[in-house]
């Protein structure tokens, strides 16, 4: 019995993916094809059909063949527009989903990469999360769609279903297909709004030296009057103009060694929120931090990518 149901399900999955796919996410790339594109007339299409019927009746009643010809022409153009609506979705491919960075509660930018087939796809709409974004792709073209995804809590958030639809070309027919990509986006934890700074063990020796070599951000363009010995010759060789080591910027901040174990008195979520706040504060002033977590030990570092690494680790905590 169960086996029969499963067989029926797999059969349905194969034959009518669009009806059943929303139960099961699928892996990228997702290609739209004839078995998963559905078409119904729009309300305007239905009204237009009634109008065509009235015109047909009038033409037949007055035995006016020219009007009948016009009505037939309009009717057949409307039917042809159904195929064009279908074609505008057929062959469309969702090739990749790129996520932006967002903390829980704030909308996350999600970039959907669509690729077209050998013909153009005009006026396709993507509905996700109560938002609609329209786009067109030329033959063999590609487009990136930016949508906002609402987030509630930290961690992996599965992608919602995306509806691709088009009323192209005349708005008489509504063609649509559901996509359910098997992909999740990582939502960062929300930092607490206020609290104590981390306890700094002892006064670490202030390091005045530059972080050499790896960070171009600590360099700035040459201005007239800069002392010659401040010019970073090695870096300048790879650039068009001269770069100068900038000494005015606060160089080495006091290091923070953030540790999960130091916050034993808090609940896990509160610990995460506090660590996230500290990480954020350190990031804004460019303070080097290291982070110890039960799952991961992140060495001392600073900069945007280090911050993202730490936040990702926090977000993925169980």
């Amino acid at each position: 019995m169960l086996a029969a149901i499963r067989r029926a399900q797999t059969w349905a999955e194969r034959r009518l993916p669009a009806l059943t796919r929303h139960k099961r996410p699928e892996s990228l790339p997702i290609v739209l094809h004839r078995r998963r594109v559905y078409i119904v007339p729009t309300a305007f299409g239905a009204a237009f059909t009634v109008l065509l019927l009235i015109m047909l009746l009038g033409a037949l009643n007055y035995t006016n063949n020219a009007a009948l010809m016009l009505t037939c022409l309009l009717g057949s153009a409307s039917s042809a527009s159904m195929l064009i609506a279908f074609r505008s979705l057929n062959g469309l491919k969702l090739t990749a989903i790129r996520q932006g960075q967002a903390i829980a509660g704030e909308p996350m930018a999600v970039h959907l990469v669509f690729a077209g087939s050998e013909h153009a796809h005009a006026s396709v709409h993507a509905d996700m999360n109560e938002q609609t974004e329209a786009f067109s792709i030329g033959p063999h073209g590609e487009t990136v769609l930016n949508l906002q995804l609402d987030t509630h809590r930290r961690g992996w958030r599965p992608m919602p279903r995306i509806k691709l639809w088009s009323n192209w070309p005349l708005g008489l027919f509504h063609a649509w297909s559901w996509l359910h990509p098997e992909q999740s986006v990582l939502v960062w934890p929300r930092p607490e709004s206020g609290g104590p700074p981390p306890v700094v063990p002892g006064e670490a020796g202030r390091q005045q030296r530059l972080h050499q070599g790896e960070d171009i951000a600590a360099l700035r363009a040459y201005r007239a009057g800069d002392p010659q010995r401040h010019i970073a010759w090695k870096h300048s060789a790879r650039h068009e103009n001269l770069l100068v080591k900038d000494f005015e910027q606060p160089e080495a901040q006091e290091e923070w060694h953030l540790d999960w174990r130091q916050l034993a008195q808090l609940t896990p979520e509160a610990r995460i929120a506090r660590l996230a706040r500290w990480l954020g504060e350190a990031e804004t002033v460019g303070r080097p931090t290291s982070l110890w977590l039960p799952t991961e030990d992140i060495a001392l570092g600073h900069g945007r990518s280090h911050y993202a690494h730490c936040m990702n680790a926090l977000a993925q905590l169980p």
Binding site: A66, A67, S79, F135
Partner: protein, 656 residues
């Protein structure tokens, strides 16, 4: 649920400029195709309102206030009622449709409004065809669909940007692609055998022959170069001098106007020579009369022949009509005239035209019983009496015939026919006026005679003992070209209205297309539809069969369209195609290639899953990797080998 979803999508974004411009063009086209039958002032006012609204939205923005719309609506209704005395009927309906469309523009601010406007425009375009379904008019209306469809298309967001004229191209392509299906539907949609509701009355505003005639009536008609009818003959056509098509026979004269008599009875007897068989395609006249070649021998279907061999249809000819019949060019019509008819054919109103009466009586006294001599005298008078043929004769006073005969000497067929009959009656010869068409242009390509309204003509018939009613054309005495070469030749020097003769000649040749249109499209009625399958042995194609054919043809088109829609260009990369085939076969054996799985990994996985075919799979993998990575341009034989191997590969399930 679908409905709800659809409604939710109609978020009311403001209407962009492009679709609004296209909609304005659509409405302008609608006004243009309706202009010929709308009162000129209404067209001008509506066009001005259209322009105003376009300018206002482009430069000022904002929608018209509600009270203004209401006031305009009331004004439009009042104007239509003022002009037509009613809101119902074809002309007032068209005026209302055009007016409402322009008013709709005033509140068009959202895509939904524009959509409604475009759909309504399609309807308004179709109503223009109720007035004129000629080929040019139909083509113009068909072109009017382009901006309407382009408007609907421009309402879709994120469409590629193009210039305004280029917006029309996709609509043209769409219409072109759907033309075959439209033709199929046109041929097979079953026609109604009888109308469901009354056909529109269409007599107003249509010029043509009228039931009565007074001198000067024709001058407008003779300038009208629209086709009146087209005649095809079985065998050789009659010579130009015999191409008299009689419409009305006018007996009664009140001093100014000739009227026909309403009389029932059997057609007057006729003895005739060889008959000519022919078919006339008559343009809509709104009247019942059917012009026929002199003299008709029998009545066509749904028509009735009067005592004077006038042909009357059962219903007014509101749509082009085709009828066939026989006529005899040489005949003796009504050898015996009853006393009552003789009196009627001699009747003249008292107190009019004393000079003409006197002249007639003088001729009678001079020539005695010789009727032929009197007729000859009258013809000589017209020929030598200083008469000239002109379409712009000077006005005539109370005694029209006297003024014409003795002072102005200028006129056209009506004047000559009318005064000739008056002279004959004064001399005691029974006479009557006949109106109809004479001449026409012989189209050699189509082998048909094109008769225009300008070929309208009036002549006389006199009754001579033993010869019956004899046709006399006094106009021919004044200007023989009128009869031998047609009205255009006669008018050429007279008024110069035709301007360029070559233009008329070109139009006469071009008329063959109209003829084809009329025969093929407009004349395609229930009867022709029923006989559609006669070549295939089906003599009466019923509604059921038509529906079946329509369904079959429609399905064929649907299949063709679907094939077009789902067809994707096959993969140009042959190695990739062969690889896909392999993947499909392996997937059926349970080894599905994962997304972003490399070929090497995949093949090793497959080899592990199908150990019996390990060697084969490894060979395939090596070839594929070679094809992919060892060469810039894969060698043809290697590619062929790989494709062959991929085709031959059949996974064998291992029995565990």
């Amino acid at each position: 649920m679908i409905g709800l979803r659809l409604f939710r999508h109609k978020h009311q974004a403001p209407l962009e400029r492009r679709p609004f411009d296209l909609l304005c063009i659509t409405v302008a086209v609608v006004l243009g195709v309706h202009a010929p039958h709308l009162p000129a002032w209404l067209t001008v006012v509506l066009a001005a309102m259209l322009g105003l609204r376009w300018w206002q939205r482009r430069h000022r923005g904002g929608r018209a206030p509600g009270y203004l719309k209401l006031a305009l609506l009331a004004l439009l209704t009042a104007a239509v009622i003022y002009h037509y005395d009613t809101l119902f009927g074809r002309e007032p309906g068209a005026a209302l449709v055009a007016g409402l469309l322009v008013l709709k523009l005033f509140e068009t601010e959202t895509p939904r409004d524009a959509r409604v406007g475009a759909a309504f425009s399609c309807f308004a375009l179709m109503t223009a065809l109720l007035f004129d379904q000629g080929m040019v008019a139909t083509a113009l209306v068909g072109l009017g669909l382009l901006p309407a469809l382009a408007t609907l298309r421009a309402l879709q967001p994120a469409r590629p940007e193009t210039s305004l004229p280029r917006e029309l191209l996709p609509a043209l392509r769409l219409l072109g692609a759907s033309l075959p299906l439209a033709l199929l539907a046109f041929v097979f949609v079953p026609r109604l055998s009888s109308p469901l509701w009354g056909a529109p009355n269409s007599t107003q505003g249509r010029t043509g022959l009228s039931e009565d005639m007074s001198p000067g009536d024709f001058s407008e008609l003779l300038m009208d170069d629209r086709p009146a009818m087209r005649v095809t003959f079985v065998g050789t056509p009659p010579p130009n001098a015999q191409r008299y098509f009689r419409a009305y026979v006018l007996w009664n004269y009140d001093g100014r106007t000739w009227n026909r008599r309403e009389l029932d009875g059997a057609p007057a007897p006729v003895e005739h020579g060889p008959a000519i068989q022919y078919t006339i395609a008559l343009e809509a006249t709104g009247q019942r009369v059917l012009p026929v070649l002199d003299v008709p021998l029998d009545a066509p279907q749904a028509a009735h022949m009067g005592p004077d061999r006038e042909m009357r249809a059962e219903r007014p000819v509101n749509d082009p009509l085709v009828y066939s019949l026989r006529s005899a060019p040489s005949y003796r019509l009504q050898g015996q005239l009853s006393e009552r008819e003789r009196r009627r054919a001699l009747q003249l109103p008292a107190g009019f035209d004393p000079q003409a009466h006197a002249l007639g009586q003088r001729w009678r006294a001079q020539y005695g019983d010789n009727d032929a001599a009197i007729v000859q005298a009258a013809m000589t008078l017209f020929h030598d009496g200083g008469f000239s043929y002109t379409l712009g004769p000077p006005p005539l006073g109370r005694n029209t015939v006297d003024d014409f005969l003795f002072s102005t000497h200028e006129g056209f067929c009506e004047h000559y026919a009318s005064s000739f009959v008056v002279l004959m009656r004064a001399a005691g010869i029974p006479a009557r006026v006949v109106t109809g068409y004479q001449g026409g242009y012989w189209n050699r390509i189509g082998n048909y005679l094109l008769v225009r309204q300008a070929d309208a003509h009036a002549w006389s018939e006199i009754w001579l003992p033993g010869r019956g009613w004899v046709r006399m054309d006094p106009t021919a005495a004044v200007r023989p070209e009128r009869v031998s070469q047609g009205s255009a030749a006669a008018n050429a020097t007279a008024a110069g209205w035709a301007g360029n003769q070559w233009w008329l000649a070109w139009r006469n040749r071009w008329d063959i297309v109209n003829q084809w249109w009329n025969q093929g499209v407009i004349g395609f009625d229930t009867l022709r539809q029923r006989g559609l399958l006669t070549p295939f042995g089906v003599h009466d194609t019923g509604v059921g069969l038509l529906g079946l054919l329509l369904a079959i043809g429609g399905s064929l088109f649907a299949v063709g369209g679907l094939l077009w829609a789902v067809w994707q260009r096959p993969e140009a990369d042959q190695a990739r195609t062969a690889m896909k085939l392999l993947e499909k076969r392996l997937a059926s054996a349970g080894v599905t290639r994962r997304h972003s799985e490399g070929p090497q990994h995949y093949f090793s996985r497959a080899a592990r899953a199908l150990p019996s075919q390990r060697v084969e799979l490894e060979q395939l993998m090596r070839t594929y990797l070679d094809l992919r990575y060892a060469h810039d341009e894969p060698p043809a034989d290697l590619l062929r080998n790989f494709r062959q191997a991929a085709r031959d590969f059949q996974p064998r399930r291992v029995v565990k």
